[in-house]
Structures are given as structure tokens and as C-alpha cells.
């Protein structure tokens, strides 16, 4: 005979797993259906129910079509360039600023911190109404380097993560290096920057996800869709006349997801850690 407590525990644990399975099912279902649809031939797509499995899992024509129609070769190249440049730029500027703000006491230190804090309150999309005008007068519409420079504008979360990290590195390390005749630049580049590695990984993940997925500004400032399309904007090709061809659209969606999936599988731990760290400070 099972005791009452034991029965209760088993029931609760069954309920717990049921909610978990339901949660996972809802999270995955929309994506799985996309995968199914991406492997269907046009006839199959037109005649079978969306949930019916495709006849062959090796029918790649949709992917080839989506790749070509959405100009994804160019899109991946542009997105890669943007990612590398923006991440390098914002990590360098962000960590340098954090170094100055956390290590030196000078007039205006607090002011600059507050300026960044206030800027983080301004909603990005609202600001684009007038940023567009500035980009326009700089002649930076359809100009990739200009777009990259704009995206480098460091956000407060990465600066916070760097400042937090600097505060955990003892000042005595800097001081002894200065005693040995190292300049402040040397202290930063030779001694502190290499120690920042974990913080850099966190910032790379937080900022990288944002930059790779950025749609609004990419669409606004990189309007030449033949030359300057990015992965996020490439999908917009599928609105309009192609809007009902879901076998192509799903293939396109899956293609854009693959890099995210690979990064996720490779650096799951860092991604979770980065998000938790970003949240506590945000």
C-alpha cells in the first residue's frame, strides 16, 4: 500500500512534468511546423495538411529557392561584416569608457554616467525619427560603414557589465604596473583588457543577438536591398507577391535560424550566464 503522502507526491510530479512538456511543446511547435513545411514540394504543400510530414526529408529545392530569392549569400556576408565590426567597436569603446569611469575620479565622471543612464531610457525606435535626419544629412543612408558606426553607440548594459568587472579587479594591480613604469594605456591594454575575457563574452552574446536580429534600423538605413541586405531584412522579400508561398518562406526562416541554433548549442552556458548577469544589472 502506498501512503497518502506518496500518492500526492507522485501526482504533483506528474503534473509538473506535464506542464513542462506542454511548455516545451508550445515553444517548439511553431518551429517544427516550419521545418516540416520547408521540406514539402509545391504540390505537397498545396494538397496536404500543414501537420502532415513531407514525403522526403532530402527535398532541398525550397531552401535553394529561398536562398536565391532572398539574396541570402549577400545577406550573410553583410551580417557577418556588421557583427564583427560592431562587436569589436563596441567592446573596445565600452571597455575603455568603463575603465576611465571606474578607475579615475575626475570632474564630470558622474555626469557622464548619468548621460548614459538617461540615454538608455530613450526608446530606440522613437529616436529614429530624428536620427534618420542626421544620417541623411551625413549622407550615411545606404552606407555600410556609417550604419556600423551608428550601431557601435555603446549601450548602458555593456558598460555596466564592464564597470562591474573592473570593480572586482583590485586597484593594486594597476598601481604596481604604474610603479614599474607602465603608462595608463599600457595598464589597460596589457594588463586589464586580457582579464576582461568573461565580461567580453557576456557583452558579445547580449549585443550579438541584438545586432544579428536588428530589423528596424537595418531596414531604415540600408535601403538598397540588392547590395546591403542583412539576414534580418532579407526575409522581408517574402511579403507581397510571395506572401503565400509558405514552403519558401519557411525554408528562409529556417536558414536564418541555423546560425543562432549553432551558436546556442556551442555556447549554451555562456548565453544563460550572460543573460542572468545582464538582468541583475539592468
Amino acid at each position: 500500500m502506498m501512503s497518502k503522502a506518496k500518492v500526492k507526491r507522485i501526482v504533483l510530479s506528474v503534473l509538473k512534468y506535464m506542464t513542462l512538456i506542454f511548455g516545451a511543446f508550445v515553444s517548439v511547435l511553431p518551429i517544427v511546423v516550419c521545418v516540416i513545411t520547408a521540406f514539402k514540394t509545391p504540390e505537397e504543400y498545396a494538397t496536404t495538411n500543414v501537420m502532415t510530414l513531407p514525403q522526403s526529408w532530402t527535398y532541398f529545392e525550397n531552401f535553394i529557392q529561398a536562398w536565391k530569392q532572398a539574396n541570402m549569400g549577400v545577406a550573410f556576408r553583410n551580417s557577418a561584416i556588421i557583427l564583427v565590426c560592431v562587436l569589436t567597436g563596441s567592446i573596445l569603446t565600452g571597455s575603455m569608457l568603463a575603465y576611465v569611469l571606474s578607475r579615475f575620479k575626475f570632474k564630470g565622471n558622474g555626469l557622464i554616467r548619468n548621460m548614459f543612464l538617461f540615454a538608455s531610457l530613450l526608446p530606440g525606435i522613437a529616436m529614429q525619427v530624428s536620427v534618420y535626419q542626421i544620417m541623411y544629412s551625413l549622407g550615411w543612408i545606404n552606407f555600410l560603414p556609417g550604419y556600423i558606426i551608428m550601431m557601435c553607440g555603446t549601450d548602458i548594459i555593456s558598460i555596466y557589465i564592464f564597470i562591474q568587472f573592473f570593480e572586482n579587479i583590485p586597484d593594486s594591480l594597476d598601481e604596481s604596473a604604474i610603479m614599474d613604469g607602465c603608462t595608463y594605456f599600457g595598464v589597460f591594454f596589457r594588463i586589464l583588457f586580457p582579464l576582461l575575457k568573461p565580461a567580453i563574452v557576456t557583452v558579445m552574446i547580449l549585443k550579438g543577438v541584438g545586432v544579428y536580429n536588428e530589423y528596424y534600423t537595418a531596414n531604415l538605413y540600408l535601403q538598397d536591398k540588392n547590395r546591403l541586405v542583412t539576414v534580418a531584412t532579407s526575409l522581408f522579400k517574402f511579403t507581397g507577391p510571395l506572401g503565400n508561398q509558405y514552403n519558401y518562406i519557411c525554408a528562409g526562416v529556417i536558414i536564418t535560424m541555423i546560425p543562432a541554433l549553432i551558436v546556442f548549442i556551442l555556447c549554451q552556458k555562456q548565453i544563460y550566464g550572460g543573460l542572468a548577469a545582464g538582468a541583475v544589472k539592468g
Binding site: L20, G23, A24, Y132, L235, Y246, A276
Partner: protein, 325 residues
């Protein structure tokens, strides 16, 4: 030669080197901040008083644009839509908290569940849009699943066209996308709770539910409240889901969708700027409330929360009175 050497020595000397370092290291980030945030911010406030396009003449109209923001049907309607997204984000936080606390205890396959529920966060917004356009299409995914559950297709609404339900459908996609992120955040917060508290709970024979109420919740309430308020500001600035899924048609245009349409399609830059300024003021108010709540309930940094101070004061007063009697 000697001149060069002295220049080098001068640059390397402590004080100069320090100033130079501060200057060069701050130059780029501060310049970027000023060019892409503060100049546009000031310009935006200026624009909001004009009737203007990006190019061409402008006419000063005073507060006319602000009056229009509150009297135009589409703008004001859009503000009300935020309520759907606020509701959605509260549901999202609730689910995230539930799954986070379940997954922080021993669960078989927790890594897999966590991964599956988190992955939607990494899908780009526009892909999410297409996925759900497909998902909600008549007779497609959602309808099929509901038919398996015994519903008739005729009973089901058009998820994206029926104005009584389409905002819920669109808002639900942001639950799908961001729930996992919230969950991972909460798991991080729960993990940072002192492990000895759980051990103490085990010794006292607390079950999981009691551990949640008495150990987890009090320790992570700061993060929960902060996220609730962040979700309000987030809900005011929803853009991608309605923009991609419905294009803002059938009454699903959120504030930003309308603003984007005014700014870049009808080129009513003045009105769009006024909308941005109004939104900004709303966000500031929400943030001030957030700071107030933070100070009142949790205290900032080392300082105690106002509530604690008041409680103690009352207690002391009561004791003093009790002593006097």
C-alpha cells in the same frame, strides 16, 4: 632627438598621461552618444513643434501636434493597445517564474526543457513574425491543433482579422518569444540565493511549494518587481510583432507602428516627433515610479528601504508609548 625624448617623457609622466588617457578613451563613446542620442533627442523636441517633412519647408505650429496626438483616433487607440501587451508581459513573467522555480529543483531532462523553451528568444523578430503569420493562417497550424482537440473549423475565429481577438493573438507571440529569456533570468536569480537556506528548509521538512513561498520569492522579489515595471515600458514600445504579422491592419497598429507609418510613409515628421516625446514622458513617469517603489520597498545600495525605517519608527514609538503608560 632630445626634444623628442622629452616629449615622450612628458606624455608618459603621470598627470599628463592620466588626462590624455581619460580624454582619448572617452572621446569615441561620448561622441557617439552625443551624435546619435543627444542631438537627435534635442532635434526631436524641436521637430515636434513644426509641421514639416524631412526635406523642404517647415511651419511653426506650436502645440498643434501634441493636441493631435491625443485627439487623433489612431494615436490614442494605439496607446490603449499597450494594455494587451502589458497583460501579456505579466502572463509571461508568471510563466517564466513558474518554469524557473520548477527547473531549479531536481528535474529529469531539465537542460532539454530549458533549452527548448529558451530557444525562441534567439529567433529574429521578423522570422517570428513569419512563423506566426503561418501559424495563425486559416486552416493551418493552430486551427489544425484545435481541430484535433475537437473544435470545428467554423467555430474558430480568424485569429488575425477578427478585431475581438487579433490583438491577443499578436500579443501572445511576444509571450512565446520572451518567456524563455525571463525564465533563464529567474533561474539565475534563484541560483544566486544562498544554498544553505534550502538546506535549512529541507531540515525543517519544507516541501517545494513552501520553499518557493518562503525562500525563493522573498529573495528574488526585487528582480520580479523590476521586471514588471520594465515590462510596462517595454509594452509601450512594442513594434515588431504587429508590424510583421499584420502590418498594423485590422486595428492592431501599436503606438510605434503608427508612429513609423506617420514618419516614414506619410512623412509627418512633426507629428511623429510629438508622439515620440509623449511616449518618452510616459516612460519617464513609469521609471520614476519604479525608482520610488525600489526605494520604498527595497532600499538602494546600502541605504535601508523607507518601509523598513517607517516600520521600525512605528514600533519604537509604540514601545515608547507602552513604556510611558
Amino acid at each position: 632627438m632630445s626634444n623628442q625624448k622629452s616629449l615622450k617623457a612628458w606624455v608618459q609622466s603621470g598627470k599628463v598621461n592620466r588626462k590624455l588617457c581619460i580624454f582619448t578613451f572617452m572621446l569615441v563613446p561620448v561622441a557617439l552618444l552625443v551624435i546619435f542620442t543627444y542631438i537627435p533627442f534635442i532635434k526631436m523636441i524641436g521637430f515636434s513643434f513644426y509641421d514639416m517633412k524631412y526635406i523642404g519647408d517647415r511651419e511653426f505650429v506650436g502645440l498643434q501636434n501634441y493636441v493631435e496626438v491625443f485627439t487623433r483616433k489612431d494615436c490614442f487607440q494605439a496607446l490603449k493597445l499597450s494594455l494587451y501587451y502589458i497583460a501579456a508581459s505579466f502572463i509571461q513573467l508568471g510563466l517564466a517564474l513558474y518554469f524557473a522555480s520548477v527547473l531549479s529543483f531536481r528535474v529529469k531532462g531539465s537542460g532539454v526543457f530549458k533549452g527548448l523553451m529558451f530557444f525562441p528568444y534567439l529567433v529574429c523578430g521578423i522570422a517570428v513574425g513569419f512563423i506566426f503569420k503561418f501559424f495563425y493562417t486559416r486552416g493551418f497550424v493552430l486551427d489544425t491543433v484545435l481541430q484535433w482537440c475537437g473544435f470545428n473549423l467554423e467555430q474558430l475565429p480568424y485569429w488575425l482579422k477578427d478585431t475581438s481577438i487579433n490583438n491577443i493573438s499578436v500579443a501572445a507571440t511576444s509571450i512565446w518569444r520572451y518567456m524563455g529569456q525571463g525564465m533563464v533570468m529567474f533561474i539565475g536569480a534563484i541560483m544566486s540565493v544562498d544554498a544553505s537556506l534550502y538546506e535549512a528548509g529541507d531540515i525543517d521538512g519544507a516541501n517545494s511549494f513552501q520553499k518557493f513561498i518562503y525562500i525563493i520569492l522573498p529573495n528574488i522579489k526585487t528582480i520580479i518587481v523590476l521586471n514588471m515595471i520594465l515590462s510596462i515600458t517595454g509594452s509601450l514600445s512594442v513594434f515588431e510583432p504587429p508590424y510583421v504579422i499584420t502590418g498594423g491592419d485590422f486595428g492592431t497598429g501599436t503606438y510605434f507602428v503608427i508612429m513609423n507609418r506617420l514618419a516614414h510613409e506619410s512623412q509627418k515628421v512633426g507629428l511623429a516627433s510629438a508622439m515620440a516625446v509623449v511616449l518618452l514622458i510616459l516612460i519617464m513617469i513609469a521609471t520614476l515610479i519604479q525608482k520610488g517603489i525600489e526605494k520604498y520597498y527595497f532600499g538602494v545600495g546600502e541605504t535601508e528601504s523607507i518601509r523598513e525605517v517607517r516600520k521600525r519608527k512605528k514600533r519604537l514609538e509604540a514601545e515608547a508609548r507602552g513604556g510611558a503608560q
